[in-house]
């Protein structure tokens, strides 16, 4: 058998095999839903990783502090920690309460993308928070200390995929907040800024 015969047969065989594939429906939906779920999984994994890193850092600093030689006392108000340095108002749920619009978030480039809902974060004076990630209502509780110590928990949330703004991840990873005029900044345990919000109303 010549090479050409074999090549011709191969073409015919592959064409026949391809033609035998029945029509597939719903490819668009499957692809878009799958991609959104994958994006969400990536975010959940990176949030979990951020929380884990923060926890390790806290434990690590705690152990290092315990083993460190005694330091001379530091005069009040001269702390070098960056988040505390920028705190101007005494912090409480009352001072930070309001609706906040995200200005900047670590690792999120599509902050200005169009979303079905306005992706705002609402901090309430009763220690609850809410808002939207752009297509899901969010809710949870938070605590805030006078010097900006911050913890937050997330309540039940829907999981519709869009260009979700990860307020929940920011709040859960944040260990400190700073309020400067109308800008609210969230910091991780290592002092890294996680997100910055502007007061909307």
């Amino acid at each position: 058998m010549s090479n050409t015969d074999l090549e011709d047969d191969l073409r015919a065989t592959l064409d026949r095999a391809a033609a035998s594939v029945p029509p597939v429906t719903g490819l668009t939906e499957r692809a878009t839903t799958g991609a959104r779920q994958a994006q969400r999984r990536t975010w959940i994994v990176s949030s979990a990783a951020a929380v884990a890193v923060a926890a390790i850092a806290i434990v690590g600093f705690g152990l290092a502090g315990r083993n460190a030689p005694a330091q001379p006392p530091v005069a009040a108000g001269t702390s070098s920690a960056k988040p505390e340095a920028s705190v101007q108002a005494q912090l409480s749920p009352q001072t930070v309460s309001g609706t906040w619009r995200p200005l900047q978030m670590t690792g999120l480039k599509a902050l200005k993308a169009e979303r079905p809902d306005d992706p705002v974060l609402v901090l309430r004076p009763d220690g609850t928070w809410g808002g939207s990630d752009g297509c899901n209502g969010l809710q949870g509780t938070y605590t805030i200390g006078q010097r900006g110590e911050f913890t937050a928990k997330a309540g039940p949330q829907r999981l519709v995929g869009c260009e979700n703004v990860p307020h929940t991840g920011v709040l859960q990873a944040a260990k400190r907040v700073a309020l400067d005029a109308n800008t609210l900044r969230f910091y991780a345990a290592d002092g890294r800024e996680l997100a910055r919000y502007a007061r909307a109303r």
Partner: protein
């Protein structure tokens, strides 16, 4: 071109390509879905490419080759299969009747991909090389090796038929 337009125009073509390289209808759908998912995630970039279909096709082929490199590629059957619930594959009857199709299954994944791209997609060796990230000379060598294997397999089948 919007993503939905692309899928309605080329989606079925991708499933067919997936079937010709993998020989498995279910896997073909999975491959098309993987390729489209990845394309959707960076659709702006894909749309602005010189040939968006070439881009998506590359994703599909790479997904297939990665799949075949995994140890779990040869799937073990599950413990309990309900024969009443198996879905008949309309492609099976047609392709089972073709010894050349069966011989293709004996090739390595890369050899099969090269032949599919060359003889089903009608791509030239340079384009295939670009798609696989190898040199055109490697494409020629792979194709030549694969054709030689197919020719040998075919001849031995014919000898078997004459003897039986």
């Amino acid at each position: 071109m919007e993503f939905e337009e692309y899928v309605s125009a080329r989606g079925q073509e991708l499933v067919r390509l997936g079937f010709t390289v993998s020989g498995d209808y279910q896997r073909a759908e999975d491959l098309a879905q993987i390729a489209l998912m990845q394309a959707f995630r960076s659709w702006r970039k894909v749309r602005n490419a010189d040939d968006p279909h070439h881009y998506v096709r590359r994703i599909l082929i790479n997904a297939y080759l990665s799949m075949t490199r995994r140890r779990s590629f040869t799937e073990a059957p599950t413990a309990e299969i309900d024969p009443q619930r198996t879905v008949p594959d309309p492609a099976t009857d047609i392709v089972n009747s073709d010894d050349l199709w069966r011989s293709l299954a004996g090739l390595s994944a890369r050899e099969r991909v090269v032949l599919v791209l060359r003889y089903y997609q009608d791509l030239d060796d340079r384009t295939i090389a670009d798609l696989l990230g190898i040199k055109p000379s490697s494409v020629r060598a792979t194709a030549s090796r694969a054709l030689a294997t197919l020719r040998r397999t075919r001849q031995s089948h014919r000898v078997d038929e004459r003897l039986s």
